[in-house]
Each structure stands twice: as C-alpha cells, then as structure tokens.
Symmetry: C2
Subunit: 408 residues, 2 copies
C-alpha cells in the first residue's frame, strides 16, 4: 500500500527507514569575553555561538566522528526533521542516516554552522555586546580559516580530539581543506567535493554581483536594517545568480528548455513566460525567508578571500604538514568549481606525497551534482570511510602497544 505521502508504508517521513528521524538543534557558546576569539584579520570577537546537530552515536573511544561542513546557504540541519510536521528534511538528508553515505549506524555525524551565519550562530544579525544592538556591518570580516577555528572549539567541547573525517561540498569543501591544513593531527580523512583551493576571478565576480544587488536595495541601509524592512529584493536577485551557477547549461535545458510557464503562447509581456523564469523567481523570493542579507555578504566575502596558496611559494606548500588521507570529487558539468580546480588540489597533494583518491564524476547536473549523484557518492564514500575507520583502529592499536611497551 502506498500512503498519501508517497511512501510504501503508512509511516510519516521522519519514521521512514533511512531517516535519522527527529533531531534536536543544539548550540555551543565559547569565547565568552568580547575580544576573546582572534580572527585572521586581527579583529576580535566574543561571545561566539555555533549552532550544530549530531546524528548517530559517538563510540566509546570517540573515534567515529565525521564532521560535515555546509555551503554558502546551508546550515547545521543536514538531515532529519525538527518536528513531525516539517515539510522537508535537512539539506542533505539523502547522505546522512542509517545505511547512507555517512552511515549513522557506524559513525557519529556532526554538522556545524559557520560564524558569520544566520542560522543560530553568531553573525551580523547577532547582538553586539559593545552596543546592545545587532552588529550589522560592525561584525568583523571572517574567513574560512576563522570558521574552522571556531569549529575546532566545538570539537574540543564535544571531546573529539581526532575526527575520522571532515567532508563538505562547495564552501563546505573549503572548510574541509582548511581543517586538514590547520589541524593535521585532528583529521584522519578529508573529503572535499566540488570545491577549490583558491577562489577564481570568476567566482569572485559572481559573488560581487550578488553583493551589489544587496547594496542596491534601499532597505539594506548599509547593513542597519534589523527591526525594519529587510533587503529581500536584492537578496533574491543574488540568490537567482547563485541558482544559475549551481545548474549547468545541460541541466537547465533538460529541466526547463524553452517550455512556457502557464500559457500555450508567448505572453508578449514582462510577466513570467518561461518555466525557467518562474523557477528562478520562486527560488529567489523564498530565500529571504530563511537567510539574512548581511550573512550573504560576509560568507561570500569569506569565499572570495579563500586562497590556500596565499603567503606560500606554491599551493603545494599548504599541504606540506597534512597527515589526512584525501578523497577528492569534482563533476564534469560543474562550471562554478570546474574539474581543473579539483585537479589543482590533487596535484598539490601528490607533490607532498599525500595519499589521495580523485574522482571526476561524469554528471550533467552542474555544481548541484554533489547533492544529486547520491548513489555513486554513497558507494565510494562508504568504502572510503570504512577503510579509514579500519586504519584508524590499527593506528590506535599500534599507539597502545607502543605505550604498553614503554610502560613494561
């Protein structure tokens, strides 16, 4: 029997097999003094709150934790439901759950929001303790390195000295790379997906257009719009630019083509004619309901600043001290983070003798492929994590033996 919600049993979505079910949003506050956390820019921030969620059980020796990092518009709610009547699960529900890509029967999956964010973490909409008002543009500019440094505090709080893996797509992949570079002893494996080691001029340009659309909105008021009307129109335009870059020419043609929205003929007016226009307008207009325009500015700026080669003679030097094993994915139709950018990472890792597996996935879904190609990623990431888990167990055994030998 097929129930009204399309499932083959009568269970609601959050009770379906494979779902992590109902999950609890959590927060962790650290750096309690106003100037406790020193950022890459030299600016100081505090107190700092991070929103996060966990799925699955941390094992006795705390060796099965996998940290998932999210992209520009993501949040800590990667899987499951917050309430039984939630219409949608987390943003990568296909990837996290019992038997899934990140198997919650085996691993304790953690997803952390970023500082600068607007989904429960300290960001430009938070209250500035110095003024008692929202930060707005007085919030300090943050970087990918700062995001990761804040997450390191969260891992300390959770008692996780070493992560089995860090994984993420797009900006999440930048954080994964930064984790492996900055905390080499705390990361056993790194899975950067559809990402780069340094943002290209084209990425910076696309981000700048989104920011300009927000600046141009009269409701933006140089960031001091909290409590009044918000710059939704500008943020919607920024989001539309984003959605175009997440798809590919091919996937847009397959999904929309020149299909007309609601008429048999062209409208010969400026109402929505084509299905693709309707899609963009809908996605653009929905976005401001869950996202803060100032966070869009801060997070895109963090992406622009991302450059692992900065201050180093060559990109490879960034990976000189890296100890993690790498699994790198790119997608053939991704024009936002084209395959050559993943290959740049792979070459740099190989130069430093790092163990790396690279897969350039043939897919037509553009940048969105990393959310779509679930079957292939489930198989490859599943096998990879199982192998790293076994290796880690042997590594711990060797450490125990050598410690015992020293004691005996």
């Amino acid at each position: 029997m097929i129930s009204p919600n399309g499932n083959k049993n009568n269970l609601p979505p959050y009770q379906q097999p494979g779902s992590v079910g109902l999950v609890q949003p959590q927060t962790f506050t650290f750096a309690h003094q106003p100037d406790e956390l020193v950022l890459e820019s030299g600016a100081r921030l505090g107190p700092v709150t991070l929103a996060y969620e966990t799925y699955g059980q941390l094992n006795a020796d705390r060796s099965n934790a996998v940290l998932i990092l999210h992209a520009l518009s993501g949040d800590a709610h990667v899987a499951g439901y917050h309430a039984p009547d939630d219409a949608k699960p987390g943003w990568w529900d296909e990837a996290v759950g019992p038997g899934k890509m990140f198997d919650t029967d085996r691993y304790c999956v953690i997803c952390s929001n970023v500082i600068g964010g607007c989904r429960g973490s300290t960001g430009p909409a938070s209250i500035d303790p110095a003024t008692g008002k929202p930060y707005g543009l007085r919030f300090p500019v943050i970087t990918i390195k700062d995001m990761v440094s804040a997450q390191r505090h969260l891992m300390d709080h959770l008692g996780i000295a070493r992560l089995l893996a860090v994984a993420g797509g797009s900006m999440g992949g930048m954080q994964a790379l930064q984790w492996a570079v900055d905390y080499p002893d705390r990361v056993a494996a790194c899975i950067p997906i559809a990402t780069c080691a340094r943002s290209s001029a084209q990425t910076i340009a696309l981000n700048e257009v989104g920011r300009q659309a927000i600046y141009a909105d009269p409701h933006w008021k140089r960031g001091d719009y909290y409590g009044g009307p918000t710059p939704d129109a500008g943020l919607a335009v920024a989001r539309m630019v984003g959605h175009i870059t997440y798809m590919s020419d091919d996937s847009m043609r397959e999904k929309f083509g020149r299909r007309l929205q609601s008429r048999e003929q062209r409208g010969y007016d400026f109402e929505t004619d084509f299905a693709v226009e309707s899609y963009l307008r809908y996605r653009g207009n929905q976005f401001p309901r869950r996202f803060d325009a100032n966070t869009y500015l801060y997070v895109t700026k963090a992406i622009d600043y991302f450059d692992l080669a900065e201050g180093r003679a060559a990109l490879a030097d960034a990976f000189a001290g890296v100890k993690a094993r790498f699994l790198v994915f790119s997608f053939t139709s991704d024009w936002l983070y084209p395959s050559y950018q993943a290959q740049e990472i792979v070459r740099a890792l190989l130069q430093k003798g790092v163990d790396v597996t690279y897969i350039d996935v043939e897919s037509s879904y553009g940048h969105d492929s990393f959310l779509v190609e679930v079957e292939l990623l489930t198989e490859i990431i599943g096998d990879f994590l199982a192998r790293v888990h076994r290796e880690e167990a042997r590594r711990r055994q060797r450490v125990e033996w050598s410690e015992r030998t020293v004691r005996e």
Copy 2:
C-alpha cells in the same frame, strides 16, 4: 616619432590610416501613422525612427551594401568618430574601415540600431503619440523579427534591394539569421557570429536576473521614471551579470586572477579588494550613462523570445527557403553561446542543402572573442565577402544576359 596618443604619426585617431574618420549619425522615420507597423505580437507601432550610420560608398548598381547588426548594448555607431575630440571610436572600429574586415574601400557598410533601442531609435523612452508622454512599459514588446522588419524599411529607403551580406555577433547574429530567413531574395550572404537559432534556458535565466535587478530598483517605478531619477543601480547590476557572461573563466583568470586592486593586503572589508570587482563596478556604473533600463528589458525579452524553430516541425524548416550563402563562427570558450549552438545552425542549414562554411575558433576570450579575434576574422570574412561579391557580379551578368535574350 610616437605622438602622445600612442600613434606613430602626429595625426589624431580619426585621421589614422584604417579609420573611417568622422562619421555622421543618421535617422530614418517611417510608419508615420500611430498604428502603421504591425509587430509579431499583433501590436501596432508608429511613427518609427531608426538610427543608422553608413561607411564607404554605395556603388552604381547598389550591389556592395553590407548590413552590420549589433548586440544587446550596441548601437548604430560601429566605427569612426562623431567629433574630433571623441575619446573612443565606434564599438567595432577594428572591423570596419579601409582594408579592414568589412573593407570600406570595397563595400558600403551600414549599421542600424534596433527598434526598442535607446540610441536614437524608437523605444520605450520615446514619446507615445497617444499620450504625449514617454511610452515606458506601454511600449509594445518587440521581437528579433520586428527589429529586422524595421531594418527592411530602412533598406527600402536607402534603395538597397539586395544586401551583399548581413553580419552580426550575439543578438546581431540572431538578426542576421532572421534576415536570411525572412527576406531570402534580399540577402546574398549571412555571417552569424557567436550566436544561436534559439535562446537556451540558461540565456533566458541570465536575462531574467538582469531584469529582476532592474525591477528591484525603486527608481524603476514600473518603467515610468523618465524625467526623474533613473534605475541606475539595478541596470548596473544587470550589466555586471552581462560582463561575466561575456568573458570566460580563462580570460578572467588571465586578465585579473586574484590580483588585489589597490592594497598589498586584503582589506578585510566590503570595499573593493580584487581587481575583478573594481572592473565590474566600473563597467556597471558606466553603463546607465549611455543606456536606458527599459530598453534593457525590451531587448533582453526579444532575445528570450528568439526561436527560429517556433511554429515549425524542426529547426531546419526555418531554412527551407533560404538562398544566402552562410559563414558561421563560434568560439571555443564562449559559454553564453557555446559552439554546439552554432553547430545546431550548421546542421539545420546542411539538411536544407544551404552552402555553409563553419569555423569554431580556438580562443580563450569567451563570448567577447568575436570582438577580439580581429586578425582571423578579417582574413576569413575578407575572403568570403570577396568571393560572394564576385559570385553576385556573375549572377547579375546572367540575369542581364537572360533579360537581353528575352528582349532580343
């Protein structure tokens, strides 16, 4: 000796060899009654003025006219200078002049603005005779077919029964194709460059984002902004999106990379950090000085509606009656009008037995390649036009002979 303007002689730019020199903007008004020109939508328009320019001399038998069609933001001023102190020549000065791609020693080159435009032709900023006020959004939606139909009136006015060639890049290429399809007896050769036979979902999406940026500008006022502040911020954002699509990932990396604009270090703020941001802001902010936001809406909509396959069983059927010889160009790094779109045109032409030469130019400059790859285009277009010119002379001779035979 090198003069301060960088030339090897002391002559000002408009007197340099190869320049068409000082040129005169011209206009032609037709369809003098308010409802004289029937548009593709069924709406009526009049009076209609077209701005145009001519370069070189029309020969005695009026057989050497070449019509150049412009792209979205172009105008009739393709080459030369309007005044001795003009800082810049026309938009494709490298291509039009003595000894150039379109050799004004041999051909009479005409460039016509489009209806819906804002550079001297009837468009949304023109006075609506029905109200005595600017049309704004009361201007009828126009199509590429309408643009070409208006240009056909201009050719009648100039006494040109048959064009040696129609040529254009991007939206200019759409007009060139439409000319060959709609007026098969009036076009000897067609040169569509970096264009398509039907706009893709991605093109429509990118145009829609530009329009949304204009709609979101409070100065837009549903198009009734004439006499007051203009929606410059929205139009600037639209233009920035455009500029990104005109370049390629490669050309942006070569031109800007991650070069910082004016500091040795990151600014850690929202001022301009990167050279690419500065470039986009400059180009975006310059654009409203010479372009009308409503025209941007109308012309992008005409591009979206462009579909030679519409109302036909197959694209090839559009070319069933075509008599012109074709020379089609695409550029390997053009992601706005990728090579496969040119190849779609070529295949459809071949299906109908049309004579076509196709060149997919290896170039890293993206869509802008058609303005950059001057040397190659000069050689190929030069040879092609010379050949068509010879064939046309033989054709006319055959017609004369047969007419004489009939008379004798």
